[in-house]
């Protein structure tokens, strides 16, 4: 059985806001110097979901986990991280304008890559990439491949050609199934990700990584990158925050609380 996990490498999404910089003129992120890119958190959990499926199937299952990433040439951070966690092999689709082309083009590229791999049973993606926070690509891939998609999974199980997903609702859980092949997007509620073991990290260096160009998957210039874009980025900026915080002081918690309660009363809130 073949599982493909789509992973993206991004700047660490949890850096202190003071370090976060944008070039408003060029409308691009200015990478924090000295900070290496990471595997987008929900994608890391998507890799974990694939590993859990393989763990459940047992040692001698025939499950093969391939990670696919679209990134600039030679960008290996996400792939390395995923292989060290336990994925079997990887494909890097090098695409010069990959991060400027938007979800529409990315989904097209990923879908064609998955088609080129052939006979893929399950595709896993993150619920959204933690840079642009769009949450579009996974469902897009499913639509293009014309396979069923289930979003926001906290648990994914495979039995006899059927995928069963516990899907996170705002105030509960839904159990949804579909016949394979199918696509599932993974939510934060999947929970903790394993640490890369020493053994896997050593093995990872020897795992096969293919580097494909768009022409390798039968896409031409007009179908990838900026020429295929459906959107224009008009502006990218950091919103200004002009709030001045007034600190409520006092010598005891009771005194501080009394002042706060008084403020609430003045604002007609209580």
């Amino acid at each position: 059985m073949k599982i493909v996990v789509c992973v993206k490498q991004i700047q660490n999404p949890e850096i202190p806001p003071a370090q976060f910089r944008i070039d408003e003129e060029a409308k691009v992120l200015i990478p924090v110097s000295g900070l290496s890119p990471v595997l987008s958190p929900f994608d890391e959990q998507a890799v974990e979901a694939a590993l859990r499926i393989r763990d459940r199937a047992g040692e001698d299952s025939d499950i093969e986990i391939t990670v696919v990433t679209i990134a600039s040439k030679g960008a290996r951070a996400a792939i390395k991280a995923a292989l060290a966690l336990g994925a079997d092999n990887a494909i890097l689709l090098s695409e010069p304008t990959f991060d400027g082309s938007g979800g529409y083009v990315t989904a097209r590229n990923l879908a064609e890559t998955i088609r080129a791999i052939g006979d893929v049973d399950l595709v896993l993606t993150g619920r959204q990439a933690a840079d642009w926070d769009a949450g579009v690509v996974g469902l897009g891939v499913a639509e293009i491949l014309d396979i069923p998609a289930i979003t926001f999974a906290r648990d994914v199980q495979i039995t006899d050609g059927v995928v069963t997903v516990q899907r996170v609702l705002q105030d509960g859980i839904e159990t949804v199934e579909a016949d394979l092949p199918a696509l599932v997007t993974i939510a934060n509620e999947l929970g903790k990700v394993r640490h890369a073991s020493m053994r896997e990290t050593m093995r990872a260096a020897k795992k096969p990584v293919k580097e494909w160009m768009p022409e390798d998957i039968g896409l031409d210039e007009a179908q990838v990158g900026s020429s295929a874009m459906r959107y224009n980025l008009e502006r990218l900026y950091i919103p200004v925050n002009d709030i001045e915080c007034e600190f409520i002081g006092g010598s005891t918690p009771a005194e501080i609380a009394a002042t706060l309660a008084q403020h609430m009363r003045e604002e007609n809130l209580i």
């Binding site: 976060f20 938007g102 619920r127 069923p148 705002q170 008009e234 915080c245």
Partner: protein, 331 residues
């Protein structure tokens, strides 16, 4: 290429026969957009028992309401909605389609975009018409930045974050046309099967989205007991309790409490943030609150940068004292 130009179509979620607030908020946005670019506002509602829904949507700003009343739509199911919705959009030919950035909207909108072969902007907080084109503003990079995008094809699809727009006051005498549409759904085309659904029991409290006061708890509460105190305050002031993802991850509170980028969006009169550091991912769900007051033991906590009032102190000491003080004031 032909351009759609017939105004704005709004997909309104209905619970029971009552449209959710976000649907009414989007109707107000749709009215503002058609005021500046022309065309009509069409509201679309899927569900069952929708006899009164058309009138409500008209009162809140729709010129035309399309009702798809069918038992199969009683619960949201993306695959069931898509064929009818695609057909309706093809017929109405709107320039812009608005969908709520909700549990179902985030599941529906990207699929719809690819069916219609257009792009989609998710989680928008505003849309402006400039030179006749929709400019959509949305948060990105975990809420640290905003991008403004335009699309090269119509309809422009956008999901709208809750509480970023203000609903119009309803005018019961507003004229509008309400039409029933009949479903073209072939149930055999549905490939995903919902085999179970469990909702957390409603705790009888005020709904977070409509509460005037929301009290958010984070890791600085020190444990699940901290939420008991927050609940006490919420009960006293008729408010609701929310939480940071970190607190939900530790099961200190139900998961449904989560406020933020991957949780709920609230914009109360007062957001009281207790033991929350103020990560942009959290602020993405409460940054539009009218007043933010925060309690944090670290005077340099990020949350103070978004707060009108700040209290430097231990939540375990301040919050029980606040319970007492509010009791006194109410007595």
């Amino acid at each position: 290429m032909t351009e759609n130009n017939n105004g704005v179509l709004v997909v309104v979620e209905v619970v029971g026969s009552q449209p959710i607030d976000l649907g009414l908020e989007m109707l107000a946005l749709a009215r503002r957009l058609t005021d500046s670019m022309g065309g009509t506002v069409t509201a679309v509602a899927f569900g069952t028992g929708l006899e009164t829904t058309g009138g409500i949507l008209t009162a809140y700003g729709a010129d035309q309401v399309l009702i798809n009343d069918n038992a199969i739509f009683a619960n949201f199911h993306a695959e069931a909605w898509l064929p009818d919705l695609s057909k309706i959009i093809a017929e109405v030919a709107p320039a812009i389609v608005l969908i709520g950035h909700s549990e179902s909207g985030t599941d529906l909108a990207p699929r719809l975009a690819f069916r219609l072969d257009v792009d989609v902007a998710t989680g928008c907080e505003s849309i402006d018409i400039i030179n006749g084109r929709a400019h959509m503003t949305r948060g990105c990079f975990g809420g640290l930045a905003r991008e403004v995008v335009t699309f090269t094809k119509t309809p422009a699809l956008a999901t709208i974050r809750s509480k970023t727009q203000e609903a119009l006051s309803p005018m019961m005498e507003r004229a509008g046309e309400v039409k029933q549409v009949s479903s073209i759904l072939d149930v055999n085309s549905i490939r995903t099967r919902v085999v179970g659904r469990e909702r957390e029991k409603a705790d009888g409290g005020v709904k977070m989205e409509s509460a005037k006061i929301v009290i958010g708890g984070g890791l600085g509460l020190g444990g699940p007991e901290g939420f008991k105190t927050l609940n006490e305050i919420a009960e006293l002031v008729d408010g609701a309790v929310g939480a940071s993802r970190a607190a939900c991850d530790l099961d200190w509170c139900p998961r449904s409490y989560q406020i933020g980028l991957s949780g709920r969006t609230v914009a109360p009169e007062l957001y009281l943030a207790v033991g929350i550091s103020g990560a942009s991912h959290h602020m993405a769900g409460c940054g539009n609150s009218k007043t933010i007051v925060s309690v944090n033991s670290d005077p340099n906590a990020e949350i103070f940068k978004s707060s009108r009032f700040g209290i430097v102190g231990k939540s375990q000491e301040i919050m029980p004292a606040l319970v007492e003080e509010i009791r006194k004031l109410k007595a």
